[in-house]
């Protein structure tokens, strides 16, 4: 079958419903959000159409700068942690038997799809005084008394890495499973140990994939909206949390929208970078 | 007029001309091979006959009716694809019955025809097997049976045997030819394998650069190639430049050849001499002098490589007539004017 451009109007038929739905319920809401970001906020949660830059001007505060800085720092830390563990893990997974791969993939997908609410709940339980991990340490004699490990930065970071790790593996999986196995075999015939072959051949060959994955995981981590709230202190709140907070609890839609627009721009720039890094990989 | 008639068929993809002004008549019941190197336009030509691509110029007629613009599914064809294109979700029987089923044939008629065809391809009782569990040769046969299910007017095969190993391929070539002769069905095969074409075809159509270079019986293609491309593409040949001197005698590599008669032909050109027609003799006696550079003994045949006037000449002989030569020896090359073909340069 040779693909040909649509000839008659009827050939476009299948496109009508998807195009209509995506336009009406994704493009239009998106545009609405951008419009609202320029609106004037009224007391009591309402807003009126206007064209003001006040909502964006608020970005220039020290508070916002801190939140933004912390969000970026947290997302970077999570991305690096996940990729550092994820690359060797996925590499070894891709070289495991099919059965092993499927078992892990099912487990990773199940955890990835687990609601952020439930992940937050699970970790807050694990870090709690009554049911937490410290009870185990007490039992082992490592600690004298059980204690709560939340709220803390470590708890936020751990839970976010937990949430992002399955995503990291699934993003890396296609590239690593398709990686030519003779690559590292060749290195080993040349005298490299398996570990050395991994670091001198596999990792450099995947440089762009790894970079693209770092960016993807970074964006994923930027999107975390509940874990900093459930497991951290207010100073651990991220941009996503702030947007939710402004929209729902402070009822300041225009400001929330402005922050969301800002977040979109940051994400889009990074997706562009990731796509570019991916292209570089193909070009090679 | 019956048969398949192509008139000035042209296909352009953008600025690229895949098939250029091809005219060809295929008689009812004949077996035609489209032969040529990859990219010569043979597959595109077949796809146009099948209606999978539409020509940008010219016309195609089948049994007198113009089918140039008729959609594929209304042409009543049988076609075997290079990938075979067996439907992986259907059994052998369901694959073969597909064209009957979508035409609304009743279950009994379908089953009867499937059994008939399975018997024909020597796979009786295979109807309920999965096509994914067949060997290469079996898949091949199923694809052929499927294409013949409705007894089509035209049977098309696109590189049908390319996936098989050499031995099986040769056996299938013979089988396919015998089947075609038994059914008397008009058949067109696309292939790049000249042995395949020589084995099966009534008519071999040699294509290059989107054009037909020669269409003739296999033996004529071999013995009387129309041009240097055909001579070189079909089998092995020596293409030697010649010139006609002032006395009207032709000289090859500087040596006049008695009895070579291009006198009405071009003054300069190429002589195509098959290696089996080249004889080696002691130097002198007005023969072309050359030096033996390599002897390849293949058991069944012996190939002697001779360098003469900067040209390589290959002579093939049977072990019975093994030439008594060794590398470095100076020999005389003897060409037989009767089997040499004069070609324009």
């Amino acid at each position: 079958m040779r693909r040909e451009p649509p000839q008659r109007l009827g050939d476009y038929g299948p496109l009508f419903f998807p195009a209509g739905m995506l336009t009406l319920f994704f493009v239009v809401p998106f545009a609405t959000m951008i419009a609202v970001s320029f609106f004037q906020r009224q007391q009591g949660g309402f807003y009126t159409p206007a064209f003001v830059l006040d909502n964006y001007a608020r970005f220039l505060s020290l508070f916002f700068g801190k939140v933004l800085g912390f969000s970026l720092f947290l997302a970077v830390a999570v991305a690096i942690a996940c990729v550092v563990v994820g690359v060797p893990f996925t590499y070894l997974l891709a070289r495991s038997s099919r059965k092993t791969q499927i078992a892990w993939l099912v487990a990773l997908l199940s955890i990835l799809s687990l609601s952020e609410v439930m992940i937050g709940f699970a970790w807050s339980t694990l870090f709690s005084r009554t049911a937490g991990i410290t009870n185990l340490f007490v039992w082992l004699g490592l600690m004298s008394q059980a204690q709560a490990l939340t709220p803390s930065f470590g708890a936020v970071m751990t839970a976010m890495a937990y949430q992002a790790f399955p995503y990291t593996v699934l993003v890396l999986y296609p590239a690593l499973v398709r990686l030519d196995p003779t690559l590292s075999e060749a290195a080993r015939t040349l005298g490299a140990s398996p570990a050395k072959a991994f670091f001198t051949v596999v990792v450099p060959a995947l440089r762009n994939t790894i970079l693209a994955t770092l960016i993807m995981v970074f964006i994923f981590a930027l999107g975390s909206y509940l874990l900093p709230q459930l497991l951290g202190r207010p100073q651990h709140w991220t941009l996503s949390v702030l947007i939710t907070d402004q929209a729902i609890y402070q009822s300041n839609m225009p400001f929330a929208a402005a922050m969301a627009v800002f977040l979109v721009l940051v994400s889009l720039a990074l997706v562009g970078l990731a796509v570019y890094a991916g292209r570089q990989k193909e070009a090679k | 007029m019956s048969g398949l008639i192509l008139e000035h068929v042209t296909k352009q993809f953008g600025t690229f001309t895949a098939v250029n002004d091809v005219s060809l008549a295929v008689a009812d019941g004949s077996f035609v091979c489209l032969l040529g190197p990859s990219g010569c336009g043979k597959t595109t030509l077949m796809r146009m006959i099948a209606g999978l691509d539409l020509p940008t110029g010219g016309s195609i007629r089948l049994s007198g009716a113009d089918i140039t613009q008729v959609p594929t599914h209304r042409r009543d064809l049988g076609m075997v694809f290079q990938s075979l294109a067996l439907f992986p979700h259907l059994t052998v029987g369901e694959n073969i019955a597909y064209s009957l089923r979508i035409r609304g044939a009743d279950k009994d008629a379908q089953k009867k025809r499937v059994d008939e065809l399975l018997a024909m391809i020597h796979l009786p009782g295979f109807a309920d097997r999965s096509v994914n569990k067949l060997s290469g040769g079996q898949r091949q046969r199923v694809a052929i049976a499927r294409a013949l299910a409705i007894s089509p007017k035209l049977f098309l095969l696109d590189e049908p045997l390319s996936a098989l190993d050499a031995k099986l391929r040769e056996a299938m070539q013979v089988e396919l030819r015998q089947l075609q002769q038994r059914l008397g069905i008009t058949t067109i095969v696309v292939t790049h394998d000249q042995r395949e074409a020589m084995t099966m075809a009534d008519t071999v159509v040699v294509m290059n650069g989107g054009e037909i270079r020669q269409a003739a019986a296999p033996v004529d293609i071999y013995r009387r190639p129309a041009d240097s491309f055909v001579a070189d593409f079909i089998g092995q040949t020596n293409l030697l430049p010649f010139e006609t001197d002032s006395t009207g005698r032709a000289a090859v590599l500087g040596t006049s050849i008695e009895g070579l008669a291009p006198l009405t032909g071009p003054e300069k050109g190429l002589l195509s001499v098959r290696p089996e027609d080249v004889q080696l003799a002691p130097a002198g006696n007005g023969l072309i002098p050359g030096t033996v550079t390599f002897v390849r003994d293949l058991g069944g045949t012996i190939e002697t490589f001779v360098e003469a006037g900067g040209q390589q000449v290959i002579a093939v002989s049977s072990p019975r007539n093994r030439p008594a030569v060794h590398v470095g020896q100076t020999v005389g090359i003897k060409l037989d004017p009767a089997t040499s073909v004069v070609l324009a340069k």
């Binding site: 451009p5 609601s115 709940f121 049911a131 839609m253 | 294109a85």
Partner: protein
């Protein structure tokens, strides 16, 4: 290498399993406390999900939302993926991009976009708005699996069917649809499971009028922890594992996730 692999797999496995083990332990506590190791054994917190009207309503709301929104996502993705595979229309890739965008961007953005949209149009809080919102939000999943499924169809199969006398409609019914079916099922399954677990989009569209299970848990968290949250978490994990397990059992999961093809 093998020892290293075992060690790494064990450490990662432990990290991934630990919170779930604790949650599973908590879910079988006898008394209404979050204690681990569990004190006593009781399945009453699982029974709660089905007997307590609040939890049961949330469960029904979640299942209904997931089932309908995944269907909507599929209905949007199938014709789009088919069109992109069948026709040569580079500009139509913009819709592919739109379909993938909600899932690639931080979810808060889609959620907020839909919130402003439903609020502006005056439908805010209606239960069907969540179906559309999730349908759009998760259209990525069937779109990706279906695109993969279509690209796996050898186009010569379609041509072969045409030479055998099948028109476009017949080809779609007898060849394309049966071959794409596993991808339809897995695309639906992915969307279903993720919709079941989704919180922020659901919360921003119907959070004040309805409770799905994730919303219910979040709301309940504010008033203190109960073992029912743990039992719901375990239930959801089991549902996800069973569904993905079925996809793996009847389909080619590694291929769906990007491996080239089944290596036997």
């Amino acid at each position: 290498m093998t020892a290293l692999r075992r060690l790494l797999f064990f450490v990662v496995g432990l990290f991934l399993a630990l919170p779930l083990i604790v949650v599973a332990g908590v879910s079988i506590n006898q008394r209404q406390t979050l204690a681990f190791p569990p004190q006593g054994f009781s399945l009453s917190w699982y029974a709660q999900i089905f007997t307590n009207p609040e939890w049961r309503n949330a469960l029904v709301a979640s299942l209904t939302l997931a089932a309908t929104s995944a269907l909507l996502a599929l209905l949007i993705a199938l014709p789009l993926a088919w069109f992109l595979w069948r026709r040569l229309a580079p500009w139509a890739n913009i819709f592919q991009l739109l379909g993938v965008a909600p899932f690639t961007l931080p979810p808060v953005i889609t959620a907020l976009g839909l919130l402003t949209f439903w609020a502006t149009t005056g439908f805010y809080g209606q239960s069907w708005t969540a179906v559309i919102s999730h349908g759009i939000f998760f259209v990525t999943l069937p779109l990706v699996t279906l695109s993969l499924g279509f690209s796996a169809i050898d186009r010569s199969l379609v041509e072969a069917a045409a030479t055998m006398g099948a028109d476009d409609r017949t080809i779609f019914r007898t060849i394309v649809l049966p071959l794409i079916l596993p991808y339809i099922v897995s695309g639906y399954a992915f969307a279903f499971v993720l919709s079941l677990n989704e919180y922020i989009v659901a919360y921003m569209t119907i959070g004040f009028t309805m409770e799905t299970l994730p919303i219910k848990i979040f709301n309940a968290l504010r008033y203190g922890y109960t073992p029912t949250m743990a039992s719901v978490t375990v239930l959801f994990l089991v549902i996800a594992a069973v569904i993905f397990g079925l996809v793996a059992r009847f389909g080619d999961l590694p291929k769906l996730l990007g491996a080239l093809s089944e290596d036997k």
